[in-house]
């Protein structure tokens, strides 16, 4: 959708959470992106590359975008079902259900830091 502003949001979020020293050792950012988040992983990678180049920061950092399938929870059966073809029904009882518990994610899931600046994680 608007991947450039999301990349800036990643930077702002990390800068609020971690010190400059820590961010100097930042190696990899892992995102969780739900299938309902309207974010396209390839465009996210392109935007990340564009912004890191333009702003000349986090240039050595790699971005991993992990997609999360859509999952609903049925209160009647207590069962979670994965949704395919956007047909929101419980796989156990077949009843329509839009109680989405996974698939809306748009978040920084994990970050990997090197032990020392300039020493890439092997």
């Amino acid at each position: 959708m608007h991947e450039i502003s999301l990349v800036r949001s990643i930077f702002n979020t990390l800068e609020a959470e971690f010190s400059a020293e820590e961010l100097g050792r930042l190696n990899t950012i892992e995102l969780q992106v739900g299938l309902l988040s309207n974010v396209e992983p390839v465009l996210m990678q392109n935007a990340f590359e564009a912004v890191t180049t333009a702003e000349n920061k986090f240039r050595e950092v790699s971005l991993r975008v992990n997609t999360v399938p859509i999952e609903i929870h049925c209160a009647d059966c207590g069962v979670n079902s994965t949704i395919s073809d956007y047909k929101f029904v419980c796989a156990s009882c077949g009843r329509p259900n839009n109680n989405v518990v996974k698939g809306m994610e748009l978040l920084i899931h994990r970050v990997h830091f090197d032990e020392e600046a300039g020493a890439p994680l092997t």
């Binding site: 959708m1 010190s19 956007y86 978040l107 920084i108 899931h109 970050v111 990997h112």
Partner: protein, 240 residues
């Protein structure tokens, strides 16, 4: 975060993040919650209207203002990339409307609504309608603090849209099938669009409307007025 604080031990290795702090739309959701609180405190019903460009949002709101503009105190915020055209059209029918020009941004964010609210006297307002930028993709992800999200789908758009834009229909409480006066000329099935929308969101309400041929507008206005009353009722009950 995993107990990582700037002042304590520096982060090394892999840090698994807290989903609530590292959510990328956190800033938007925070402002949306502030708007929701303010609307609750003054008993104002807030509706977020979304759709593709050209499905008839502004025409519907003009017609809505003509019908119920003198029954309740309603105001409208309208978002577009450029121009004041929509706000002008709404002022033409006597409603207090303010344009939010996004300057190229494809959706409204809560922060834009919050800023616009500062320029709109909301004292005693029963109903605040936010007409979003015409787009079925990005506006779906941005909570504006509304009570209800209403999505229009015009018969000219095709009846296969809900599953193409699932998040919008999943997060809407009401779908308005608009321009139904054109049905005789179009290969559009109301049954098919309703079935498609309910595959995604079994709870979505549906009304068929035509703003220009006066179909379903009374039902739509009743839907709104009921919810305006409901919001007042909640407020009255809370005070007792």
């Amino acid at each position: 975060m995993d107990q990582v604080q700037k002042s304590s031990k520096a982060a090394r290795g892999t840090v698994t993040c807290d989903n609530s702090t590292m959510h990328l739309l956190k800033a938007n959701d925070f402002v949306a919650e502030s708007i929701r609180k303010q609307m609750a405190s003054q008993n104002t019903l807030m509706i977020n209207i979304t759709s593709s460009a050209g499905s008839g949002k502004t025409t519907l709101l003009q017609e809505t203002a003509r019908r119920i503009g003198d029954k309740i105190n309603m105001k409208i915020l309208v978002g577009d990339l450029e121009t004041e055209r929509d706000a002008d059209r709404l002022r033409d029918v006597g409603v207090d409307a303010l344009q939010i020009v996004t300057g190229g941004i494809c959706h409204l964010e809560a922060q834009m609504v919050w800023q616009a609210m500062e320029n709109l006297d909301l004292d005693g307002v029963d109903l605040l309608i936010v007409e979003n930028v015409g787009n079925l993709v990005c506006p779906a992800s941005f909570d504006l603090g509304e009570d209800y999200r209403v999505t229009l789908i015009a018969t000219t758009e095709g009846d296969d849209k809900p599953k193409k834009y699932p998040r919008m229909f999943l997060t809407s409480e009401l779908m308005l099938v608009s321009k139904v006066d054109l049905l005789p000329y179009l290969p559009f099935s109301v049954d098919a669009v309703v079935a498609d929308a309910r595959d995604v969101n079994p709870n979505i309400d549906v009304l068929e409307i035509s703003s220009t041929a006066n179909v379903g507008i009374d039902e739509w206005c009743d839907w709104l007025l009921e919810r305006v009353e409901e919001k007042k009722g909640v407020a009255t009950a809370a005070k007792v």
